[in-house]
């Protein structure tokens, strides 16, 4: 009995020590641990592939039973979405091209200049506590740890492990995920369709008899507040002294007087971009909170200029030397604003653009952040 207890204690001690050693080595980024994982993957992947083929009919049957009504509903919703997206696409493409031309003209980097590798999601995480997916491209495609991964809707995560022929992607809902982001806050605008009946025109009275009319803003994107071409300042003829509303863009009626004759000119040639109408940007840190909770953006400063954050304001990657992703990748929209006391800025819940439950084809941007680069010894 004493011998048995000794053996049991010895086994428990041995297992505990092995655990501590393995955890320590893994957390310190030991190359041996990665090697063991890679070796195990080489043995395991063929078995997994065979099993995947064998169990596919069972999976299909299960999905048919449990998801049939959801698929029907989704199909209907997607048809509506396609009809809606067709119109938005044309405007969006034009805006993106304009933006890329402007960036290229100013020698600024754009997403179009970064190579990418397309891949397909082949598996979800088998754990209840990690939000990862596995894709079918790896090191052979130039994929490295830290590279951002997108689908058609926007950012979905970053690469955390790379092997030959496969890679693991940590989703942005994972609690370990954090990314510098920009929140593009715009003043409330009216969504109108030009030429449609009932176009809304905001009218502001001035101290003079001049009628001041804001230019109707046309929104063609699905993200409220993210107006294609909104940052392009329209050339309007204004008389700044007569503007009473800070957000109003003023246009005087076309004058008939001679501008060269003092006192007769009622049309100024000075053009003023409506700076107060430009979208305001504030940076913060996006943090995942697990699969059941929406990610949040922290460190948004409580600046009076930035104002109240509007629901639906777009959230895009901030970029920068140490950021995990290049700038201006769409992440989602603000779905909830949690106000906090004191000088703490608001906490913003983000509705992610990409549907992380139905990932299929993704694009790995071959952009390795400086923080993820392995320094040569």
């Amino acid at each position: 009995m004493a011998g048995s207890t000794f053996t049991r204690r010895r086994i428990i001690l041995l297992l505990a020590l092995t655990t501590v050693m393995l955890v320590t080595m893994d957390l310190r980024g030991s190359g041996a641990v990665n090697g063991i994982r890679s070796l195990f993957g080489t043995v395991f992947r063929p078995v997994e592939s065979v099993t995947r083929v064998v169990v596919r009919p069972v999976e299909n049957a299960w999905n048919g039973i449990t998801n049939y009504s959801d698929v029907l509903e989704e199909n209907q919703r997607l048809k509506d979405l396609v009809a809606y997206g067709e119109g938005a696409k044309i405007g969006a493409i034009a805006s993106v091209r304009e933006a890329q031309e402007l960036l290229a003209l100013n020698g600024l980097p754009t997403l179009a200049g970064i190579n990418s590798c397309s891949a397909q999601v082949v598996g979800e995480s088998p754990s209840n506590y990690a939000q990862t997916v596995e894709i079918n491209r790896g090191g052979e495609c130039g994929i490295k740890v830290g590279m951002p991964v997108l689908n058609a809707a926007g950012l979905i995560g970053k690469v955390t492990d790379v092997y030959n022929g496969r890679a693991v992607v940590m989703l942005i809902t994972d609690p370990s995920y954090s990314l510098a982001v920009k929140v593009v806050n715009t003043p409330p605008t009216t969504t109108t369709v030009p030429g449609a009946p009932g176009v809304t025109v905001d009218t502001t009275t001035t101290t003079t008899s001049t009628t001041t009319t804001t230019i109707p803003r046309t929104t063609t994107t699905g993200i409220p507040g993210f107006v294609p071409g909104a940052t392009l300042a329209p050339t309007v003829t204004t008389n700044p002294s007569q503007v009473t509303s800070p957000n109003a863009t003023v246009q005087l009626p076309t004058g008939t007087g001679d501008i060269n004759k003092p006192g007769e000119a009622n049309q100024s040639e000075i053009t003023v971009p409506p700076g107060a109408d430009l979208p305001l940007r504030e940076t913060g840190a996006l943090e995942g909170r697990g699969i059941s909770k929406a990610p949040v953006v922290r460190f948004i400063e409580n600046q009076p200029r930035f104002g109240e954050v509007n629901l639906g304001s777009p959230v895009v990657s901030a970029g920068g030397a140490s950021s995990l992703a290049p700038p201006d990748i769409v992440i989602g929209t603000v779905s909830r604003v949690i106000k906090r006391s004191g000088s703490l800025g608001p906490l913003l819940e983000v509705k992610i653009s990409a549907n992380l439950d139905a990932l299929n084809f993704v694009r790995v941007m071959l952009y390795q952040p400086s923080t993820e680069k392995v320094n040569a010894p």
Binding site: I11, N63, Y129, G290
Partner: protein, 172 residues
């Protein structure tokens, strides 16, 4: 050839082969089939079944091995799952030793209890090693669903583990 036969007679090698197949089911079938949104944990069931079949010591070693294999395909720190699964295997075997006349339902109850314990221990262990946001109220629901499923499938798994972890003499 003799060496290969000797290896095949080793009970932990047989458990490794069984665990490899179960792991492939875990990463394919059970990561896709999620009743009530919960990913069922057959690897945990295998660890608990090892304890139920061959006692606490074998359960601890078998659970550690199964957990380590599971860690290999997860992004969690290597060794965390191994420690938790070893505890589950040990616990299942230890509690089972107190049952006077084990029968089918006692094994199911023990398997469910050990699995639920494992599902609670896993986020605790992850929190200890620095992972944030995993220790939430959802753990209770996850543990319940996994426990019920593992109870239903405990008997065939226990039988498989009894075969895999049998001594060489018994196999011949």
């Amino acid at each position: 050839m003799d060496r290969i036969l000797d290896l095949a007679q080793n009970r932990y090698f047989r458990l490794f082969m069984v665990a490899l197949v179960v792991l492939s089911l875990q990463t394919t079938l059970f990561s896709d089939m999620r009743p009530f949104g919960v990913c069922l944990q057959v690897m945990l069931l295998l660890a608990a079944s090892a304890g139920l079949a061959r006692g606490s010591e074998t359960g601890a070693i078998g659970g550690f091995m199964v957990g380590l294999m599971y860690d290999m395909v997860l992004t969690t720190p290597l060794g965390v799952g191994a420690a938790v699964f070893a505890a589950v295997g040990y616990l299942a075997g230890y509690v089972h030793s107190f049952v006077h006349e084990p029968n089918w339902w006692s094994k199911m109850v023990l398997s469910a209890g050990a699995s639920a314990t494992g599902m609670v221990l896993m986020p605790v262990a992850l929190t200890v090693v620095g992972t944030e946001g995993v220790l939430t109220v959802n753990v209770i629901g996850i543990a319940f669903v996994v426990a019920v499923f593992n109870a239903l499938f405990s008997l065939p798994f226990e039988r498989v583990c009894r075969w895999a972890l049998s001594e060489p003499k018994t196999v011949r």
